[in-house]
Amino acid sequence: MKRSFNAVVFGLAIFQVSVGCCEGGELASSGTNAPASEARQLNRVRSITLPHFEPDLPVAPGRDEYMVVCVSCHSPRYVTMQPLFPQRQWEETVDKMVKVYGAQMDQEQRQSIIGYLVAIHGPNSTTEGSPARDEDYDFASAAKPLQRSETTPLIKPATDATTHANEVNRGADLFKQDCAACHGTAGRGDGLIGQVLLRKPKNLASTRFSPQLLSQVLWNGKRGTAMPSWRTLPQGDLTALAAYVETLHLPSKGDQISPEALQHGNQIFLQNCAPCHGVSGDGKGAAAATLMPEPANFKLKQPDFDYILQVLSDGIPGTAMPAWKNQISESDRRALADFLRSLFESANPYGH
């Protein structure tokens, strides 16, 4: 209400000021208008940066053709927004894209794309919004791409001490209520329900998380695991939870690692880990697209040295991460652990 009132009043004010200028006159220079004109001059260039949404497409035949031909002009949401149309409608839509908007595709690509659209968004597809069929709704495969939001709001605990302390206290209460059943009361991943899950709930004391990773996981959940999205909680609760989870991890002493040792760790990483975790360690390696849960992004989280060694030794059950103890020597695993920890980018909380 208040906002609307202000908008009306401000609108009137502008109207009254600028109505005085008329054709052929100079730019109004009355006392009230001058500062606005100056501000306008100072802000001559106005820019925005659009959020980036990763194309998030179910795997089905024709996906590659769809990616190449369609996604250059519009995002996949133009498809997933639609009702579940039959093949005839998708044929019509694809043909419209060719005839009307000039999409470039040959006959073979056209067939593949139509097949893909029918598979992911046809009457029998299992994606969003299919007509009431709860009885055969498959919760096991319900870790839907659509559940995921690519524009996660950054959940960032307060920086001033008092507010932060309040957030941590509130977060501790919320954690007991919402998280402890899986993650355990101390966040060690040893809660009662957690014991029957595979993969096991995260030991939150073992890893330092960046604010954006905490935000992403709280907001979207973690696909391929039992971790659900918590975005239905009020924003303040999410912030409190993030603040509390940050306190679970105790900073370990930062040893100085020689550049040579890091270089060595990097070599081992490129040979063994990059196919899944990506050359830069961001979890987007060539094989990553098919893995669930996704490979770790070491720019957004920094596991403790000992935890990395344990994972390298034993792997992570319930994920694609294998045990490396028979392939990589212990000294190399240590070098690798140091290298992985060096990838963490804590300085850039917005993750661009």
Partner: protein
């Protein structure tokens, strides 16, 4: 049944809610708890996103962006700029504008082609201001049955704002439109991703362009336009669907002949029948470019799924608008159309503004109720109970909403 979440404007339908619950309770360990049919299967999870200069809006598509205004913003006369819906057609939308370099070009069939900066527009022409509804042609498309492809909007692809700028007529007079001008064409800074896609351009007949209401706006609700709503200039065509309100307007061309372009000749066309309706089995043979907005009225409160108490009176709220004739009366039925109650109308804010209405209602007993709303305008028009066309345009049927009184 919709479960309200903690995020304003976010609702989960029951299946989504169950999905979240199911996963929270241990994923595959738990079987679905409820197996009754989803009462409203077509509604999907509303995902809110925050784009630059915008508050949380409902994500329809991300690229090019189509963002819908949550219903609760319509409890105000003017829709705040940051909550105003967004709809672009082409991949290349303007994200940066240098006002030092930006010029509005007025050319074609004129004596003196003009090239005007925004400062010159502000300084050299009389400023005018009016409140007008801006509504997407496809607003409410997701309610069409059978469903049609296109932006799957609910009722939030619209907004009401105070637009301030200069009369298009004044610009055309300054440029000296020559005798024999037929149409005036408009295009903006947006660009298609590939050359084969037609760039976005619209046109108005020259008499319409010179009617004194059509405006080149540089302000919206007293502030610069948000970039996603067309900064720095937007064509304002009061009473007409928003497809004509060209965003980031940079070219105006006076034409000595009829304008031809994809976005008028092929897209945004409606059946020529008086109510723009056709049957899905027998599509209309003749179509014409969409134009004036049809009369419609909507509920703002109760929101879908809102629960009322039988112990307290409830103030229903809504809005009604047309293309400029003016709303005469609004009526609400709480008994499936058997009887109609006159709603109280808020003061008029101008002939192109929407007019808000209220109706105080004392729930007689708990139970489920169906409300309907219909408006009448001064041109003697009224709303009907059905409308369908292949484009999913101009939905203006008598709206229904269901509430539960506890």
């Amino acid at each position: 049944m919709k479960a309200k979440t903690g995020i304003p404007g976010t609702t989960l339908n029951r299946r989504e809610f169950m999905r979240v619950l199911g996963v929270a309770g241990g994923g595959t360990l738990m079987a679905p708890l409820v197996t009754t049919a989803d009462p409203n299967p077509k509604r999907t999870l509303e995902q809110l996103v925050r784009f630059p200069e915008k508050t949380d809006l409902i994500l329809r598509t991300d690229r090019p962006p189509q963002l819908e205004t949550p219903l609760h913003y319509f409890r105000e006369d003017l829709t705040p700029n940051d909550a105003f819906y967004v709809r672009w057609h082409l991949e290349g939308i303007p994200t940066s504008v240098d006002l030092g370099a930006f010029r509005l070009q007025i050319s074609g069939h004129v004596e003196r082609p003009l090239s005007l900066s925004v400062a010159e527009l502000r300084g050299q022409f009389e400023a005018v201001s009016l409140i007008a509804v801006n509504q997407c042609s496809g607003n409410s498309r997701s309610f069409f049955e059978p469903r049609v492809p296109g932006g799957q909007w609910e009722n939030g692809a619209m907004g009401n704002a105070r637009w301030t700028g200069v009369r298009l007529r004044d610009l055309l007079d300054r440029a000296g439109a020559k005798a024999g001008a037929i149409d005036v064409g408009f295009s903006g800074l947006d660009r298609a991703a590939i050359a084969a896609t037609p760039n976005f351009a619209k046109a108005l007949a020259v008499d319409h362009a010179r009617d004194g209401d059509v405006m080149v706006a540089y302000e919206m609700n007293g502030a610069d336009l948000p970039m996603l709503n067309g900064f720095p200039l937007r064509l304002v065509v009061p009473g007409w669907y928003a497809t004509y309100w060209v965003k980031a307007l940079s070219q105006i061309q006076v034409l000595p002949e009829k304008f031809h372009g994809f976005w008028i000749d092929k897209a945004y066309r409606i059946p020529t029948s008086p109510d723009a309706s056709e049957s899905s089995e027998h599509l209309a043979a003749e179509t014409t470019p969409i134009n004036r907005m049809s009369l419609r009225s909507l509920f703002v409160r109760p929101e879908p799924g809102e629960q009322l108490s039988s112990k307290a009176p409830f103030e229903m709220q809504g809005l009604a608008f047309d293309s400029g004739s003016g709303i005469q009366r609004v009526e609400v039925s709480t008994d499936k159309g058997r009887t109609w109650l006159a709603a109280q109308l808020d003061p008029e804010l101008g002939k192109y503004s929407w007019r808000r209405w209220r109706l105080r209602w004392n729930p007689p007993a708990s139970g489920r109720y169906q409300f309907q709303v219909r408006a009448f305008n001064r041109a003697g028009q009224h709303q009907s109970t059905s409308l369908w066309n292949r484009g999913g345009y101009m939905r203006n049927v008598i709206e229904q909403t269901e509430v539960e009184v506890l």
